[in-house]
């Protein structure tokens, strides 16, 4: 961890999302996708948002970018970026911010780049949309950026079309494009999911370097606990449109206070020792947005279910960690103890 990060102002909040709700009007009534999601991203911080598909993590990132274009979407709450509420900006003001202040990279750089233009052209396009640059200067900057992202022979690569590059190089080009205007916040939506494991590691290393080289904060959306463990400063676990748990990475990964986080951590194969015959998994699947249970949305799948779960738990704080589980109400839950109680109850 770089030294200046230790001395950073703890109040250096870059992005402050409060009570973000996203719902969609449909024939069957209003579908609530995100419910009262609140979180902050500090300067030069990597915040990982983890969850299964359908947990609302991508929707959160799209809401921050204001890229939810569906006319039936209802978005409430506030998204404060550098003191300005993004939800109150005009489309034009938001457009000026997108790509310059907040940039985004996507899961599959093959489909996320326009197939008919060279990557150099696409980087130039973004530069010239926000900065008053000549084509020549923009091209020079694009080549420079590609070089900084570790693309070999950047001048040649700039003249290539997306389909002519490997997945890893495409993602590097995508990151180069996202960083072209020195954004303060980079939203990375599953940036390594479509890549080989070795390439994944390189891309993650690149993301780690961003905050030192570019001073950017990163909001990393992923479903991969391995990725979370590698790069994040803080972790936010989402489940079914709510925040299940959040806190500093070592705390959350070392001592989860929500049964869902516990389940996710159990589903990672151990690095050492004998591998289990079958990886433990969380039974069941996340509820569809229309069929979310009342109270805690995780309770149908939760091994620690109890009567209190019928009402929705707020976020309970334990040290630096917060979890929306009734078990976290009175301090850190002791999972082994809870399990023993339930085993005894079943035996009786």
């Amino acid at each position: 961890m770089p030294a200046d990060l230790m001395t950073a102002n703890p109040d250096g909040t870059l992005l402050d999302v409060r009570d973000l709700c996203v719902s969609f009007r449909s024939e069957r009534g209003i579908i609530r996708i995100l419910e009262n999601v609140s979180f902050t991203v500090r300067e030069r911080e990597i915040l990982s948002i983890v969850g299964e598909s359908g947990s609302g993590k991508s929707m959160t990132s799209l809401a921050v970018m204001r890229l939810i274009t569906d006319p039936n979407a209802i978005i409430t709450g506030s998204i404060t970026y550098k003191g300005r509420d993004l939800l109150k900006l005009s489309p034009k003001e938001m457009r000026a911010l997108r790509g310059r202040e907040i940039a985004m990279i996507f899961q599959d750089p093959m489909t996320a780049m326009t197939p008919v233009y060279t990557i150099g052209w696409q980087i130039e396009e973004q530069l010239r949309a926000h900065q008053n640059l000549s084509r020549r200067a923009a091209r020079a900057r694009a080549v420079e950026l590609l070089g900084e992202m570790g693309v070999p022979a950047p001048a040649k690569a700039a003249g290539r079309f997306p389909h002519q590059l490997s997945g890893g190089l495409r993602q590097r080009a995508m990151i180069a494009m996202a960083l072209s205007c020195n954004p303060s916040l980079l939203i990375a939506d599953e940036p390594t999911t479509a890549l080989d494991v070795t390439v994944q590691a390189q891309i993650l290393e690149l993301l780690l370097r961003l905050r030192t080289d570019f001073g950017s904060s990163v909001m990393l959306i992923t479903h991969d606990m391995g990725v979370v463990a590698t790069v994040s400063d803080r972790v936010m676990v989402m489940y079914s449109g709510i925040i299940a748990e959040r806190g500093p990475k070592p705390d959350v990964l070392g001592g989860p206070t929500h049964p869902y986080t516990l389940g996710l951590l159990h589903s990672i194969p151990p690095m050492h020792g004998e591998k289990p015959h079958r990886l433990p998994s969380i039974p069941g699947s996340p509820p569809a947005p229309m069929g979310r249970p009342a109270g805690c949305p995780f309770q149908p799948r939760c091994e620690f279910r109890m009567d209190a779960c019928a009402s929705r738990p707020p976020l309970f704080r334990n040290g630096m960690q917060e979890a929306s589980c009734w078990l976290a109400e009175k301090g850190m839950p002791d999972w082994a103890h809870e399990r023993a109680i339930r085993a005894a109850g079943e035996a009786a």
């Binding site: 970018m65 890229l67 274009t69 457009r95 000026a96 911010l97 997108r98 790509g99 310059r100 940039a103 985004m104 996507f106 599959d108 489909t111 996320a112 780049m113 326009t114 197939p115 008919v116 396009e125 973004q126 949309a129 926000h130 079309f161 389909h163 002519q164 995508m174 494009m177 996202a178």
Partner: protein
Amino acid sequence: MLLPILRRLAEMLFVMFGISVVVFGIFFATPGADPAARIAGRNATPEVLAQVRHSFGFDEPLPVQYVKVMEKLFISRDLTSFVNRGEKVIPAVVESTPVTLSLVFGAAVIWVVFAIIMGMIAAATRGGIPDRLLMFLGLVGISMPVFWVGSVANLITQSRFHHTFLFSWVPGLGYTPLTQNPGMWFKQLVIPWITLAILYIGLYGRVLRANLVEAYQEDFIRTARAKGLSERRIMVRHALRTSLITFVSMFGLDFGALVGGGALLTEVVFNLPGVGRLTYVALQSLDLPFIMATVMYSSFFVVVANAVVDIAYAWLDPRVRDAR
């Protein structure tokens, strides 16, 4: 880039050869029919028949006949119509080509411009009232037969409302070469252009809208938005540019077919002496040499248009370029 183009040209020649063999087969080697009698026309004297037999080499084997016909078509270019008392076929086709080209080219400009505008407006307002209205108008345009639109246009501009200020500028039906009087050329062609373009505006506008709406589902449109580009730029540089691929291939084929005589009805209705009308007249009098020449001519344009489409494809879509 040069090698694939050369290869495409070679392919084109091969296809042309294939077509010429098929056309020759249909006209000259159909069992049970005497090609000499058909070329000579109805009520031909035995002398004329003998002359035809000799000049086309019908007493010789088929390959020799093929070579003789092709020689008459392309080298000596003296294929003669017996029905029309010795009119030379090739010069007649060459003479009517500029008429057809003028008609189709002008109509193509109109339909491409209007179809793109229509497709873009409809896609930008998809689901809204302008979208529905334009798509309905497009369907109306597709459904109206061109000869009917042409006749109605003639009725209005030549007869009923010709004396009003609106249409008093419309000259009588016919064609004036561009080199002779550009103003007259334009005035006589503008109504045929619009008539011919209506169908294609509807068709292309609807296809383009569908392609644009599909393009808007693509991830790269989301990326373009995330880059902070304006909606206009996203539409033109990203959505339209990637949607043009289907548009261009359709355009090449339709353009080729129209130049090759597909504008027959429009030419007949507006009395334009183009290749289509030539074919029409030849068909009425069963003038075999003429029919054969126009068939060869139209197949030539369709094949050329196909080759141009392929080259344009490679230019529009770099993925195609690499697949070669």
